[in-house]
């Protein structure tokens, strides 16, 4: 601050001349005389008024709204731009150049100092310098602290020293880390439930499968205990089993359990391999096995039924067979006699042989075809179902034989499946058992270390409390300066009080708000109307009045620190109604024409632009300079791409002289009461 004050011992009070070369619409070189208390710029939109004021803003504050695109300010088609101002004495000149393709603005050696010398040189983005002296209608909201992206008024009067700025966030970060440690150790020192019941259950499950394995083995394993309470008991069992397998390990061997597990798995795999047929068909065969089994049962049922229906089937079916092969059975005989005996009995045989056949023919003649048929029918009724059953029985017996053969083959693959399942179960249950034991071991270990963790958490809580103490102290230390806030609030209300405002606006309140902007804490003032409305909830006109009041209020508040006494107002009248125009004019007259010998630093050189013809004429009347003061009128009459703006530069002379004659005349006229309406 001391350095700043030293720099500001001779602030710029008056700009006499301004030069613009290829700056925005100012094509070529333009020299403008601005040597007056108040400079009024008028002209249609697009003729260069705002560009003129932007150049002035850039020279005075080094801030422009184009962020990294400073090229935007160079006239289209030109490579560089140059602007300069001459101050009151006419000898000091401030200038700067812009070069296309280069972001950096190149200032001349002499230059208006920064308001915040040390900070702003590092933070070129700060708009505070501009916000405090320049009003641009199209950027009204950026005039408020709460929308600023850079430094604020609080940074001037109550800044947190750069060294301390990250103190509270770092304390918070460390407190969070300490919290994490506390949580971890608190978990560790917690009394965990015993896993004993789970171990008993898990062992029971595991031992069930171990016993199944034992049955399958071709070697003699020890008895598998029903229950095991301690890990050592399992170790003893493992040692015994491993001894059988010629693996002499001790109960304390580090690889005992691992070896035990490997051995079990190896054993079950060995059993399974014996039963192995075709790995790929294991599942399929298991299903088939069951199906074949079912079919055999069904076949047996059918055979039993036949046997029950015909208990002497085998004997019955062969009772009437011929004793020798190739001979017809009885039923065929009966059928043959029934069909042929009569014909046979009538056969005429050679006389020589007649006597031999006579006997046959007589016998045949004695046969009754009808009776033979009846015998055939009777015999068929009895014999046919037996023959059918016999045939079916033979088929079923063959089928059963086939199925039994198939089953024998499949029996081996079923075993494979069962042993595979056993392997899975053994692995799964042993893993569960190991986990339960691991958890129990961890619990016992934690139990042993519990006291150490309790002490660690106590210590961490003390550390955390110490961080809180520091954070509280820092917070108290960084609290907004209440008298300062009240002062600034009063200043703003003072200026706002001049305007005609609807109810509910005045008095405005100013709140101090700390926010993070661009990863850095920003300490701001936030304005609220009396009825609680925020800036962006106000009408355009109200917001403009608020912005102007904030600007003038801040500008006056820090009068003694300002590097210049210039106020730039671009199109400020546009949002005003006629009711406030006169009030506004009085304010600008005070700043430009007011003389206060005790506070000379309160005087400002004012630049106002207006594009509205009626408003301009009204302003010309209202801002007409009194004797001893000066005003310049810059009328932007045209603009061309070749030459840029055409500016008529006029000096507005006071209508009165300093001799006081006009004043005497006024008093005389008042005394004469020639003005009276009654």
């Amino acid at each position: 601050m001391a350095e700043s004050q030293k720099e500001q011992s001779n602030p710029i009070a008056r700009i006499k001349k301004m030069e613009l070369n290829n700056f925005k619409g100012f094509v070529g070189s333009h020299e403008v005389n601005v040597d007056a208390d108040l400079v009024l710029l008028t002209g249609s939109n697009g003729y260069g008024k705002s560009s003129f004021l932007e150049a002035l803003q850039l020279l005075l504050t080094r801030w422009h709204p184009y962020k990294k695109k400073s090229d935007t300010m160079i006239t289209v088609g030109k490579d560089s731009s140059f602007i300069s101002i001459n101050n009151q004495e006419g000898k000091d000149s401030f200038s700067l150049s812009l070069e296309r393709g280069k972001e950096k603005i190149i200032p001349s050696n002499s230059y208006p100092p920064y308001l915040l010398q040390s900070n702003l040189e590092q933070k070129q983005t700060s708009d505070l310098e501009a916000r405090i002296c320049c009003f641009f209608q199209d950027r009204v909201q950026y005039l408020f602290d709460e929308f600023s992206t850079g430094r604020t008024l609080r940074d001037i009067f109550e800044p947190v020293p750069e060294y301390w700025k990250t103190f509270d966030t770092k304390l918070l970060e460390i407190a969070n880390q300490v919290d994490n440690y506390i949580n971890t150790y608190t978990y560790k020192m917690a009394v965990l439930p015993s896993s004993q019941d789970k171990i008993i259950y898990d062992y029971k499950e595991f031992s069930k499968y171990l016993r199944l394995l034992k049955i399958e083995l071709d070697k003699k394993w020890p008895e598998i205990p029903e229950t095991i309470m301690k890990e050592e008991e399992l170790a003893f069992l493992a040692v015994e089993i491993l001894q059988i397998d010629n693996k002499p390990l001790h109960v304390n061997s580090s690889n005992l359990i691992e070896t035990f597990e490997q051995t079990i798995i190896k054993e079950v795999e060995r059993c399974r391999n014996r039963a192995k047929i075709n790995n790929q068909e294991i599942d399929k065969n298991i299903d088939l096995y069951e199906k074949v089994q079912k079919k055999i049962i069904e076949t047996e049922k059918s055979l039993t039924k036949i046997s029950n229906d015909f208990p002497t089937l085998d004997k019955d079916v062969h009772s009437f067979d011929a004793t020798e092969n190739g001979q017809p059975d009885l039923l065929a005989v009966f059928h043959s006699l029934a069909h042929n005996s009569k014909r046979w009995s009538c056969i005429q045989i050679d006389s020589k042989e007649n006597s031999r056949f006579q006997r046959i023919l007589e016998e045949l003649a004695a046969v009754s075809e009808e009776e033979a048929r009846k015998c055939a029918t009777t015999l068929a009724v009895w014999l046919t179902p037996r023959r059918e059953a016999f045939e079916q029985k033979q088929e079923l017996e063959q089928k059963k034989q086939n199925l039994e053969n198939e089953l024998k083959k499949l029996e081996k693959s079923k075993k494979f499946g069962e042993l595979s399942k056993l392997k899975e179960d053994l692995e799964k249950t042993f893993n569960l058992l190991k986990k339960s034991w691991e958890k129990e071991r961890e619990r016992l270990q934690l139990e042993r270390k519990r006291d150490t963790y309790v002490r660690a958490v106590e210590e961490l809580n003390i550390i955390k409390k110490s961080l809180d103490i520091l954070k509280d102290a820092f917070e108290k230390m960084s609290r907004p300066n209440e008298p300062l806030r009240k002062d600034i609030e009063k200043i703003i209300n003072l200026v706002l009080g001049r305007f005609s405002l609807v109810e509910g606006i005045l008095p405005v309140t100013l709140d101090c708000v700390d926010e993070n902007v661009n990863e850095e804490k920003s300490r701001r003032y936030v304005i609220k109307a009396k009825n609680g409305r925020a800036v962006n909830q106000l009408s355009t006109g109200q917001r403009t009045q608020m912005a102007v009041s904030f600007l003038v209020g801040q500008n006056h508040a820090i009068s003694q620190l300002l590097p210049h006494r210039i106020i730039i107002l671009d199109d400020v009248s546009t949002s005003y109604d006629l009711a406030n125009l006169t009030r506004e004019a009085i304010l600008w007259r005070q700043l430009a024409y007011g003389e206060d010998k005790e506070h000379p630093y309160l005087k400002r050189q004012i630049f106002i632009s207006s594009h509205h013809e009626d408003m301009t004429n009204k302003l010309l009347d209202l801002l007409a300079p009194p004797a001893g003061s000066s005003m310049r009128y810059l009328r932007f009459t045209d603009w061309s791409p070749e030459k840029g703006p055409t500016i008529e530069q006029m000096k507005i002379l006071p209508t009165e002289k300093t001799d006081g004659v006009a004043m005497e005349r006024l008093i005389r006229r008042l005394k004469e009461r020639k003005w009276s309406t009654n």
Binding site: D487, L578, E595, D596, S676, N678
Partner: protein, 226 residues
């Protein structure tokens, strides 16, 4: 305030007090006249209205009358070659309970067309400014001179690194004297140690991190049984 301007205002006041200059119309009479380089301030009071006439009509006529009066003032001032904005202050007490309606005249652009500005002010608001001319109300002073408040930078000297350290230390010491307070003071001592080293100053983050690491290492060692 510039002496010439003060004299100008005083001259007007004197003439007014001697009743050499006075403004009066059917509805209004002046309670003060002020003039300087900034503006011409006319203070008016509503004359005691005719009780037989409805107050609505009184106010309507008084509004028209005020317009005429102030336009004449404006003409008079510019006619003698003095271009000044005209500001009129109406005495609130003279307007009775319906002063709020009159307050709205100031915002009635159709009526005044920006030729003058009107404020309604109570009598009692006196300026707090020590340079005030005796008897001048706050609003009159604000219009003629401007109530400017400036913040004296000497009253708000920003705190230095050392100020912060000392004040935080002071606040920390107000806590109960336990281990946590002792630790907080340890941190401040570490900070002070680095602030002494002007050229190789550690950032405050680095100081805090180093302190944290030291403490956590101590706890870790204890847990490991070292």
């Amino acid at each position: 305030m510039d002496t010439t301007q003060t004299e100008m205002i005083k001259q007007f006041l004197l003439l007014f007090e001697k009743e050499e200059i006075k403004i009066s119309s059917n509805y209004w009479h002046s309670s003060g006249l002020y003039f300087n380089d900034i503006c011409f301030v006319v203070c008016l009071e509503l004359k005691n209205p005719n009780k037989d006439k409805p107050f609505d009509q009184v106010l309507k006529s008084a509004k028209n009358d005020l317009y005429e009066l102030l336009k004449r003032m404006d003409y008079l001032v510019s006619d003698v070659g003095l271009m000044r904005p005209i500001a009129c202050i109406l005495k609130k007490e003279s307007l009775g309970e319906r002063f709020k309606e009159v307050v709205l005249w100031g915002a009635d652009q159709e009526w005044h067309r920006g030729a003058f500005t009107v404020y309604v002010e109570p009598d009692e608001i006196q300026s707090e400014n020590e340079h005030i001319i005796a008897g001048m109300s706050w609003r009159i002073f604000d219009l003629l001179v401007g109530n400017v408040l400036e913040i004296n930078p000497n009253e708000y000297q920003p705190a230095t690194n050392w100020d912060y350290l000392q004040k935080i230390d002071h606040l920390v010491k107000q806590n109960e004297k336990d281990d946590a307070t002792k630790y907080a003071q340890d941190i401040l001592t570490e900070i002070q140690g680095t602030m002494d080293l002007e050229e190789q100053q550690m950032t405050i983050d680095a100081v805090l991190e180093a302190w944290r690491n030291k403490k956590l290492q101590m706890i870790d060692d204890r847990i490991r049984g070292n």
